[in-house]
Symmetry: C2
Subunit: 199 residues, 2 copies
Amino acid sequence: MVNTPGRGGGLRELTRRAVQAEIASTAMELFLAHGFEETTVDQIAAQVGMSGRSVFRYFATKEDMVLGEMRAIGDDLAAALQRRPTSEEPWEALRRALDEPLAALHSDGGKALARATMLATTPALRAAQQQKHAQWHELLVPTLARRLRGPTSTRKLRAHAIVSAALSCLDVAVDEWTRSGGTKPLESLLDSAIQAVRS
Amino acid sequence: MVNTPGRGGGLRELTRRAVQAEIASTAMELFLAHGFEETTVDQIAAQVGMSGRSVFRYFATKEDMVLGEMRAIGDDLAAALQRRPTSEEPWEALRRALDEPLAALHSDGGKALARATMLATTPALRAAQQQKHAQWHELLVPTLARRLRGPTSTRKLRAHAIVSAALSCLDVAVDEWTRSGGTKPLESLLDSAIQAVRS
DNA sequence: CACTAATCTGACAGTCAGTGACAACTATAG
DNA sequence: CTATAGTTGTCACTGACTGTCAGATTAGTG
């Protein structure tokens, strides 16, 4: 029962979410202060005031304390893609759908940059992030496939390829963004990356 | 001293390589028979006839017993890219450089397919494979960057994007290849993927 | 308010990957 | 042959993660 069931009311779900947010928040503090690998789950549990065992009832893995929100972002991204007019070409629709999650990064202020930097320099986190991207991938492919013409036999393959390439571009752009210390505008980095790939 | 030092002679290096191959071989047998996660390192060690501690002197991680060769493949790939004539466009050069590693998959016979299937269905292995691809990425970018024209300010970014997209296409193609049970030709799957991305 | 059933929690014990340290052994160089 | 350096087994340890169980808490019902 670690997974968050469908967003619903109920007082129990509400407190559960609150505890989850509290754990994630204090975990991030400790991670940013002492590093991800250097921080033990027991330290987080002690800080929150619960047993280490109970922390694992809210997060399946230590990585999820950092990346837990990414599943929701993927859902939003897929919804945004579905909302794009069918007149748009695949790449254009994907690019526009990415605007929303991208804007969220900016609104986070400096916190998103610190998070992204930690994410870029911690192998375990990068690996977990790739798995989350794989989830995004699976969500986006069926929606994108509907925009594709040409032989149906390769339609799924082509959808996979485009989605995968687009997420790669996002990764590359975010990487460069963190390397620049957040100075270069993320949107234009992404545009450059996409244009290069399609050349 | 887990990393394999430069390929060189010496009786010590030779026996080291032999032991390493022996461990990898028996590990693969056990993995394919009982699954990756269900097989413990101690079981592998017992089968080979050494202590569990010693196995970790040949492989840094359990995943490396499966993916250890990928570093060498990356080196070959980078060398192949460097050998491509400068007249070829970036995508074309990358595609041709991939021919060699692709052929190696075929020559392996059914073994490569079983391996790829296990790799596709084991999250821990997929994560480790992504890290290896990141290494390939770093090897390929400087070589590819030399083929790019246009503003130098974005040259590195564009190189990263193209390499990343190409490796994504490779992933997508291999995935479809394993899903088809090895029936669909890998090369044409890769071509379809690349063409879709550049559309 | 009282009751029931689901849920949450701490505590304990366990598995497994991976690391550090040390002493014994073995190959190699000089 | 000897000093040196690499290899190995063993012991002990950390830390993520899991199973279980008994007791506390609480949502919803009558």
